[in-house]
């Protein structure tokens, strides 16, 4: 029974005397151990990026994805347990599909985000369930108005709407950088790509394993559909970002 929770941390259906649900907090801890995952709402779309650790040199690049399409105009990036997040991804796809088959229109991002919040929250209510060890960033672009939106859903089931945010290990540093980046409200996804690559490389902890930058977007370049950022574009953005970081370091 030893430990921080003093016995109150074994189940999600028991509050601690000071009013906390430890299991949910531990789940949030699991997210903080994960590689950084960020998303930003640009003027013309949503851009996702993930710092994906290469667990082994033998791992095939481009595998174990951490950014997923939800439907044609929506996607999701993950921090935390990947296996847990798949549960949310497939639920999101089901909800989107079901909404479309009933209403013919695509599900409004707000509605889907709320539904995913409710879904996640359910796993914090019963002793027989374990909360999800992941936080997701859900982004979409309205196919008609082209208005982008971005939401964060955490293990507690909370839903936040953001202009840009980061989760995982480097979230603090990344968030400050995103704030600077988003000071320009007219920035496009294409312009932001280099900066996002720079943030990811800056935030990366040298002590950690090497990482692969995974990026996807929904923007005019991808015909307003969810798509992985083309490899050549990502490569040039990464190279440029590294140069910029090097130049900054030389200045100091």
């Amino acid at each position: 029974m030893a430990g921080t929770g003093a016995g109150y941390d074994l189940s999600v259906n028991t509050f601690s005397p000071d009013g906390r649900v430890y299991q949910v907090e531990y789940a949030q801890k699991a997210v903080e151990n994960s590689g950084t995952s960020l998303a930003i709402c640009c003027k013309d779309g949503v851009l996702f990026a993930v710092e994906k650790f290469m667990l082994s040199k033998m791992l095939v690049p481009g595998t174990i994805k951490r950014i997923f399409p939800i439907h044609r105009h929506a996607g999701m990036s993950i921090a935390g347990f990947l296996a847990d997040s798949r549960q949310i991804v497939s639920r999101a796809r089901e909800e989107a599909n079901q909404y479309k088959s009933v209403y013919t229109d695509e599900i409004p991002p707000e509605v889907l985000a709320e539904r995913l919040g409710n879904f996640t929250h359910l796993f914090t209510l019963y002793w027989s369930a374990r909360p999800f060890g992941c936080t997701v960033l859900f982004g979409a672009v309205d196919p008609e108005t082209k208005v982008p939106s971005l939401f964060q859903i955490d293990p507690a089931g909370l839903v936040y709407k953001f202009k840009g945010t980061a989760i995982g290990k480097g979230k603090q540093a990344a968030k400050t950088e995103i704030e600077k980046l988003m000071a320009n409200p007219d920035i496009t996804c294409e312009e932001a790509l280099v900066h996002v690559a720079k943030i990811m490389h800056k935030v990366h902890d040298e002590k950690d394993k090497d990482f692969e930058l995974e990026a996807s977007w929904i923007c005019p370049k991808s015909n307003y559909q969810f798509a992985a950022v083309p490899n050549d574009l990502l490569k040039t953005a990464e190279d440029k970002a590294k140069e910029m970081i090097e130049a900054e370091e030389n200045e100091d």
Binding site: K65, F68, P69, H71, R72, N97, S101, Q225, A228
Partner: protein, 242 residues
């Protein structure tokens, strides 16, 4: 209900279609496939809806054309859109083409007829995947499925097929194919009371997939023989014909 017992009012499935579309013609041409259908959706013999598109794009390489029950056609279209969505979510760059969709629809149609609850359509699935072969398939409400160089559904199976047999050639140009399709639908318009003079023409050549805006076909009803009033003691005798 217990085994051996039967309801006095048994469950009945669709026994006849309600809102229907008439002929669709489809043919291969040099470098692609073409579908054409008129814009009418009839309610029995009533000309109910005159601006309906009975052709549909599915994925990036496939066209679907339907005669018969319009709502069933829409339902099949939704099924295929869902399939295309699973392709999209897979993110592996693999997409189903006309062959896969035709096969899928064939299974759905046969499955439904085996449940004594058919989808009341005759469908043409046409398409071409990039530099692959052109594909043109027919599927009906019983699950009968075959591939052909040219196909006509509905009344067109009787009115348009002879014209296609006479005039279609392998490697017919797109322009000639379009003319031929229009000729077929013109004949259908003259003789099939559920047909209409406004049509859509859809093409797929592996790169682009297109459904035209409505096209109005020429038609002329002023022939003197057609204007004679046979009931008012005109010259047309009982055994005479124009």
């Amino acid at each position: 209900m217990a085994p051996g017992q039967y309801s006095a009012d048994p469950k009945r499935h669709t026994l006849q279609p309600i809102v229907t579309g008439a002929t669709v013609v489809g043919m291969k041409y040099a470098g692609g496939v073409l579908l054409a259908a008129d814009t009418m959706a009839s309610y029995g013999s009533q000309a109910r809806y005159k601006d309906v598109c009975r052709l549909k794009k599915v994925g990036n390489y496939t066209l679907l054309g339907a005669s018969g029950e319009i709502s069933d056609f829409q339902y099949i279209g939704d099924l295929l859109d869902e399939l295309d969505m699973t392709d999209f979510l897979q993110e592996d760059g693999c997409h189903m083409g006309p062959q896969e969709y035709a096969s899928y629809i064939g299974r759905v149609m046969y499955n439904r007829r085996s449940k004594m609850n058919p989808l009341y359509n005759q469908l043409i699935v046409a398409g071409k995947k990039e530099s692959g072969e052109s594909h043109l398939a027919f599927i009906d409400h019983q699950g009968t499925a075959f591939q052909e160089e040219f196909i006509a559904t509905g009344f067109g199976a009787y009115l348009a097929m002879p014209i296609l047999r006479n005039e279609w050639k392998p490697d017919i140009s797109l322009e000639d194919a379009k003319k031929l399709a229009i000729k077929c639908l013109q004949v259908c318009f003259y003789r099939d009371c559920n047909a209409y003079f406004k049509i859509h023409v859809a093409t797929c050549d592996g790169e682009t997939q297109e459904i035209s805006e409505p096209i109005a076909m020429d038609h002329y009803w002023g022939h003197s023989a057609w204007l004679k009033k046979s009931l008012e003691g005109g010259t047309l005798g009982v055994n005479e014909s124009w």
